[in-house]
Symmetry: C2
């Protein structure tokens, strides 16, 4: 577990900034809608902040300007699995869910870096959904993408071997050839256990696919990993 501080006072930047220019996602938006959003303040949220727990109810629709959020599902025994990461340009479905259907969160979201975000309050969000076709289609397609990606997670968990899932996790987290993650983090990302990751990485290392260091993995045969990741035998 990373050390977390629970939702501390988020500081808001002086408004009037043209944050909306930064939000590439909103570039397709009509003038009216943008005006309706421009006065919302930008909120800074510290790394490690837990944005919501299971059972919380929705506060608003989040537009992420900077940073990365990860949404997890937690099992009864404490094991976790990454549902999806949220980065600028993609939205957080959990939030949307709550706003639209009245359901509570059932995942847990954590800021893995410092964040800058704009929170659209529920009423304004609903007004936009009613009034702006571009905004609607923005929200819809975000929704559809998430759904799709959650189905992929399900597909992987249900049908793929750890080998393939691990290979994929390594590839998706690599900066160059370096993956700066602990075994525990990798395990969480794919919904497995640390020991399993350790052993699997060891066999990867024996096959010359990676080398391991404390807190990191270095990829040495990216082509082979790609082949494994597809799950094709």
């Amino acid at each position: 577990m990373p050390s977390t501080r629970s939702l501390t006072e988020p500081r808001t930047e002086p408004s009037g900034q043209l944050w909306i220019r930064e939000a590439a996602v909103l570039s397709g938006l009509d003038r009216e809608s943008r005006d309706a959003l421009a006065d919302l303040p930008v909120t800074a949220i510290g790394k490690g902040t837990i944005l919501f727990h299971p059972g919380d109810s929705a506060r608003g629709f989040i537009i992420l300007l900077d940073g990365r959020i990860e949404v997890f599902l937690t099992g009864p025994n404490g094991r976790e699995i990454l549902l999806y990461p949220v980065e600028p340009g993609s939205s957080c479905v959990q939030t949307t869910l709550g706003l639209l259907g009245g359901e509570d969160y059932s995942g847990e979201a954590i800021a893995v870096t410092d964040l800058r975000a704009v929170i659209i309050p529920k009423e304004r969000f609903l007004a936009l959904m009613a009034g702006s076709a571009p905004f609607r289609s923005f929200v819809f397609s975000a929704f559809a993408q998430r759904m799709q990606s959650m189905m992929q997670v399900l597909e992987r968990v249900a049908f793929l071997r750890i080998e393939a899932r691990l290979a994929e996790a390594l590839l998706s987290r690599a900066e160059g050839d370096l993956v700066r993650s602990t075994h525990q983090e990798l395990a969480t990302a794919i919904g497995s256990a640390r020991e399993v990751i350790s052993r699997r990485l060891e066999t990867f290392a024996r096959q010359g696919l990676v080398t391991t260091e404390r807190g990191a993995v270095r990829i040495t045969d990216i082509a082979a990993l790609r082949r494994l990741a597809t799950g094709v035998d």
Copy 2:
């Protein structure tokens, strides 16, 4: 595999019927929207029909009047897992996804009984979404519910033992104390393998929870199954 006939000519009932009266889901709808839908024909679709394959693109939004559809995710080795059933009153997200986000289906939907349904073509669907707040909220909450239920499936697959998942599947499929499903069907419903179900049912039987017959399981200790289904040890 049940014997299937691929999307045969669906027969449409003579229109002008007030099918919309039947659709309890739409009862909250405004007069205008209902008028905009009333002239759509009711389509009859035979049991076993495959409504869409992975990779198909969306044809329209389905309102189910009668019958039951099941949507599966299929793994590379042919193993399947039930994503969700669709019954009158609940909508098929896959379809909606396609209409809103342009993504193709990645599940497979099959009519497990004869169906009566109304298909709203894409254009009319989008027009309704734009013009009718009640319709929007109907679609949204359907969406949100599905999302929620898919997360539950994921949670179960990732974290619960077969024992618990099987117990739950039996309870949810029971008519009285009888579950009319083959081992294969149960396996598919929870994303496991037939052999595993056979063995697990055998131990259930030894514990006096069920008795098994060809093509069916009879529940003899529903309380114990309920306890197992929660996954609490």
